[in-house]
Structure formats: structure tokens, C-alpha cells
């Protein structure tokens, strides 16, 4: 499995670039597909952006706009959450059929289905005479 994870680190002042947090992910493999699950609390379906550039998959989750708007009218007494969006990139194994990637969002968990190409799926080889 070469579904390598790219973790981006920010250097320098970071003032000119919006800050991102790296979401925690699980990656599972079944016979038919790889399954990627990422925790992105506060991100709705509309806040998710998934892009594919050659074999690099990038997931971005936007949540700051609605939060900052809600926070404008109140005072923080205690704060542990980070006021940033989520972003993480993955280098996909060539065996993944990038045309059939699908994704869904449920209660802050993004699930991305990465189907294996037909040619690499486990299968029975018929024995011929």
C-alpha cells in the first residue's frame, strides 16, 4: 500500500497564507477499495473540497467562516478549538481507479472511497485444460 500521506508544515511568518490544521485520518483496505476517513468536526458537506491532481488527492474542509460569524456576538470564556480550516494531501497508489473515487460526509467525518482498479482486485483464476 503506497497511499502515502503528505503532511505540510508551515514555515516563516504564515501571515500571507491561511492556516490549516491536519485532520486525523484512518485508512483501511478491503478487497475492493481503500477507505479513507478523516475527522473534520464543524465542516458540513458544503465546506468540503476534494481535488485530484495527477495522483495527489487533496482534501480541504472549510469551517472558519460560519464559526467566526457566530463568535462575533459573544465572548469566549474558554477556548480549546483552533480557528483554522483543515487540509491534508495524499499520494495515491497507482492501483487506485481515480475515475471512480466517491466521498460522503457524516457528522464531521469525511469518508473517501478509493476503489481499486479491476485488474488488481483479488479474483479466482479459472484452471483450463
Amino acid at each position: 500500500m503506497n497511499t502515502q500521506v503528505k503532511t505540510e508544515r508551515h514555515h516563516g511568518t504564515g501571515l500571507e497564507e491561511p492556516k490549516y490544521m491536519v485532520p486525523k485520518v484512518d485508512i483501511f483496505e478491503t478487497g475492493d477499495e481503500y477507505l479513507l476517513q478523516a475527522d473534520m468536526p464543524g465542516v458540513g458537506k458544503d465546506g468540503i473540497q476534494i481535488s485530484l491532481d495527477s495522483n495527489e488527492l487533496t482534501i480541504v474542509g472549510h469551517r472558519t467562516a460560519s464559526r467566526e460569524k457566530a463568535a462575533a456576538s459573544c465572548t469566549y470564556l474558554h477556548r480549546e478549538s483552533a480557528p483554522v480550516n483543515f487540509r491534508r494531501a495524499f499520494v495515491l497508489d497507482p492501483i487506485i481507479d481515480t475515475n471512480r473515487i466517491t466521498a460522503e460526509m457524516d457528522q464531521g467525518v469525511l469518508t473517501v472511497h478509493l476503489p481499486k482498479a479491476e485488474k488488481v482486485k483479488p479474483r479466482l483464476i479459472p484452471v483450463t485444460d
Binding site: T3, H10, T30, D39, R63, L77, E80, A82, V109
Partner: protein, 155 residues
């Protein structure tokens, strides 16, 4: 008992934006601070301290907790003796138990967070909603706790 409760009302040391990227460090600190509380409840705390915020507006105290991927019935919210207490459990998807795991960074299991409320709230009117993996607990302040405008009269 009193000692334990005072540790809950800890100062917000980690609110600075500069700490935004240190989510893991913050998790670890939250876990360490919460451990005495877990002992109080007689169960071993296994290590998920989801980030909690507490804000105040004119009428309400509002707490939010980032707990993605739960079922509504697996979350318990309690307000008692001026302490908001939230516990729950994230369960692993049964379908994936047999799948081969290549990376497991997400936490499964039980969590418990509690925070002292700095103002009295109407316990009967507390509402909790769960949306996009964020639990929001809205607690209306009692009339005495609301800000009042005092009229100045001519002497």
C-alpha cells in the same frame, strides 16, 4: 472533591492562535488535566479529550465540543451543581473491523469532559444539538446572571 472541581475551571492557556497547529499537544495536555476526574468516576480514562469551547452572549452560556462521528444516542450531557459534564463513546464501524488498517490516527472509545459554569443557568431550559460532528449545549442564564442597565436618576 473541591480540589478536583477547581482543576476543571482552568485558565485558557491554549487559546492563542499561535497554538493552532499544535492540536496533538493540546490533546495531550487536556488528557493530563482530565485524568483526576476520570479517577473520580472510577473508570480508567483512555485518552480522548475533545476540544471544548465555552462562550457567553447576552442570554446564554454556550458550550461546544468537537466530537465527530458519534451517534446521537451515544452522547450524554448533564448540568449539575454548576458543572457541565459531557460524556460519550465513539464506536468503530463494525464493517471495518475485519478490514486491514494502514493508518489509525482517529480515536475510538469513551471520552468525558466537564467544565465549571461561571454563571448560574436554568437547568430545565438547557438544550443540546449535534450537527456536523459538533455538539452545542445552549444554557440560558438565570435572570440574576443577565447584565442589567441601571438607570441614573437626577439627585
Amino acid at each position: 472533591m473541591l480540589m478536583t472541581l477547581t482543576t476543571l475551571n482552568r485558565p485558557s492557556l491554549w487559546t492563542s492562535r499561535a497554538f493552532g497547529e499544535f492540536g496533538d499537544l493540546q490533546d495531550e495536555i487536556n488528557r493530563l488535566l482530565d485524568e483526576p476526574l476520570a479517577e473520580l468516576h472510577g473508570e480508567f480514562f483512555t485518552g480522548w479529550a475533545p476540544p471544548m469551547d465555552l462562550v457567553e452572549d447576552a442570554d446564554n452560556l454556550v458550550a461546544t465540543l468537537e466530537v465527530p462521528g458519534l451517534k446521537k444516542e451515544d452522547i450524554q450531557v448533564r448540568v449539575e451543581d454548576g458543572v457541565l459534564s459531557i460524556s460519550g463513546e465513539r464506536k468503530q464501524d463494525e464493517k471495518l473491523e475485519k478490514a486491514q488498517a494502514h493508518r489509525t490516527e482517529r480515536f475510538y472509545g469513551k471520552f468525558h469532559r466537564a467544565i465549571c459554569l461561571p454563571k448560574p443557568v436554568k437547568v430545565d431550559a438547557v438544550k443540546a444539538t449535534y450537527r456536523d460532528g459538533v455538539l452545542t449545549v445552549t444554557m440560558p442564564k438565570t435572570e440574576e446572571a443577565k447584565p442589567k442597565q441601571i438607570e441614573v436618576r437626577m439627585g
